[in-house]
Amino acid sequence: MSEDAGEHITAIETPVYLKYNFTAGQATTRFLQQVRQGKLVGQRRPECDCGNVYVPARGSCAACGLPTTEEVELGDKATVQSFTIVWIPIPNNPIQPPYIVANLVPDGANISFIHLMSECDNDSVHIGQRVEAVWKPEEEWDYAMDNIRYFRPLDEPDVPIEMIGKVPLAGWEGEA
């Protein structure tokens, strides 16, 4: 390098902007239409032996790869399958750490999704805990899972480990 070659260039900022138009497809469209109405609806493939109910449905039963054609209404209640307490902020998200991101299985479904838990003591959140959805006001509903503001604890007995992911729509009242 000659003496007048100047400073070695190690970083020139060149932002990349990405705008994505999400095509929901048939199954997710049906799911989002219901969420827009304030309802959580799962889907299953009635011909499948497993009978597993998926939410949010992404189009097919993962066991056989065929379309989930039947809607199954789910409740606002769910069970904590697992969770993490997050101590770092998410960029462009106003939520302040520490916050709980939980893997929740809604009653009547056989798979978890992640959502926020609030109105709870972070140290007392636990696997098997019962929670319910707190929806935003109706005028704020859109085609988005953010229509549910968060889930809050319910005063119900814990679901035993082996029952997590199998609680029916009728709910969990404790051991029979």
Binding site: H8, T10, A11, T14, V16, L18, Y20, F22, A24, T28, F31, L32, C50, N52, V53, Y54, P56, R58, A62, A63, Q81, S82, F83, T84, I85, V86, W87, I88, I90, P91, N92, N93, I95, P98, V101, A102, N103, N110, I111, F113, I114, H115, L116, I127, Y143, A144, M145, D146, I148, I161, G165
Partner: protein, 386 residues
């Protein structure tokens, strides 16, 4: 299937930021080191198999287009492999299969990540309408799975801390590593900030720049170089959906199937006894006990005992040292991390792993996983051809 062997290995220095080279310079450096190691030049290579993790990690879309010249691909086939974090492993296996099939006699394979050029932690945490915007990076995804492992196994809380210390002490023996922490202590890890409970800062992998390359050749060319050939005794890949009802995320079926396949090819029925060491993808400390079980080194629920007893520690004289190189917890250029595991397994077998060499190692496992712990790539390498 033809025999195939690793005849050259090249790595770069792993650092938080390699501001001295472009992406092209970085991959060229690893490739040149591998060629030198194999005693070869660009014209000796018939095809180039390249891999990296998602393009969003640098914001450079299809970088292989502009890397063709830096890797001497003019007039040769070039192929990119992409399986998220496991890509370093699957790229090596795709390269090996090009030789095992007889399609080519000698190929170069290269993987890289230059994470300092963008924001790898958040690159994949974009909002999706069917999910609330709570994707808090890879740690946020994997933390609940580790929590479930701790519940199931009853593992003591400091198991993760022990792995974090053990891999950094191993890593201090390896001058290529990004993190050099020869004086790390259990207390220091425990006192480091909690990021995604139960994962602390020092129980997490760093974000690194780096590249790794290998030359793979057929039986007839395997002994042409200055180094002893490292024979590929088995290679396997498996995948499974991110989400399905009843999926065991702690001990995924695809991982169990993949390792059963690779052990069967290599004639291994007791991995703890028959393997001399393993380089396993452990980006968060708790994945060591989890993978000890998934890969058959311990019964389900018992993996943490091996960790706590020191069985996986070089410094404690363990019988099955894991990640002697320091592993992903010391250097994590994501796209290359899997190939570094594969290459470090090969270095152990060659007997030239320097300060982190396992005495007399003859057979080793290289492992990588990626996506939502849904893509697996593994190989077993040995001093012996069969």
């Amino acid at each position: 299937m033809q025999y195939a062997a690793v005849t050259g290995i090249g790595q770069t220095q792993y650092k938080a930021r390699r501001g001295d080279v472009s992406i092209a310079g970085l991959v060229h450096e690893a490739a040149r080191n591998a060629l030198d190691d194999a005693g070869l030049d660009w014209n000796d290579i018939e095809a180039v198999i390249i891999g990296k993790a998602p393009d969003m990690f640098e914001g450079v879309i299809m970088p292989e287009i502009y890397l063709a010249d830096a890797l001497g691909c003019d007039g040769k086939p070039m192929l990119r492999v992409h399986t998220a974090g496991s890509v370093g492993g699957s790229t090596a296996l795709v390269a090996a299969s090009h030789v095992q099939s007889g399609a080519f006699r000698r190929v170069l394979t290269v993987t890289f990540e230059k994470q300092s050029e963008s924001n790898a932690m958040w690159a994949l945490s974009n909002p999706q309408p069917f999910s609330p915007h709570l994707n808090a990076g890879a740690g946020g995804y994997f933390a609940p799975i580790m929590r479930e492992y701790i519940r199931r196994s009853g593992a003591p809380r400091d198991t993760g801390i022990k792995v974090a210390v053990k891999d950094r002490l191993h890593g201090a023996r390896n001058p290529l590593n990004h993190l050099q922490m020869p004086d790390i202590s259990m207390q220091e890890v425990e006192d480091s900030p909690m990021l995604w409970d139960p994962i602390r800062f020092l129980e997490s992998c760093p974000s690194s720049d780096g590249a790794c390359a290998m030359v793979i050749a057929d039986e007839g060319l395997a002994n042409d170089g200055p180094r002893p050939p490292v024979w590929i005794r088995g290679g396997a890949m498996r995948s499974e959906p991110t989400m399905y009802a009843g999926r065991d995320e702690v001990n995924p079926q695809a991982g169990r199937d993949c390792v059963a396949d690779v052990y069967a090819q290599a004639g291994i029925d007791n991995p703890r006894k028959q393997l001399d060491c393993a380089e396993v993808y452990v980006p968060f400390s708790w994945y060591e006990p989890m993978w000890l079980e998934n890969l058959g080194f311990a019964e389900e629920g018992e993996g943490w005992r091996l960790t706590m007893e020191g069985a996986t520690s070089l410094d404690e004289g363990g019988d099955i040292p894991w990640n002697c190189s320091g592993g992903v917890l010391c250097s994590n250029p994501i796209g290359a991390s899997g190939m570094i595991r594969f290459a470090e397994a090969a270095r152990q077998v060659r007997g030239d792993a320097g300060e982190h060499q396992v005495d007399g190692a003859r057979t080793a496992l290289g492992h990588a996983y990626g996506g939502g712990a849904q893509f697996y790539a593994m190989w077993v390498v040995s001093t012996d051809k069969s």
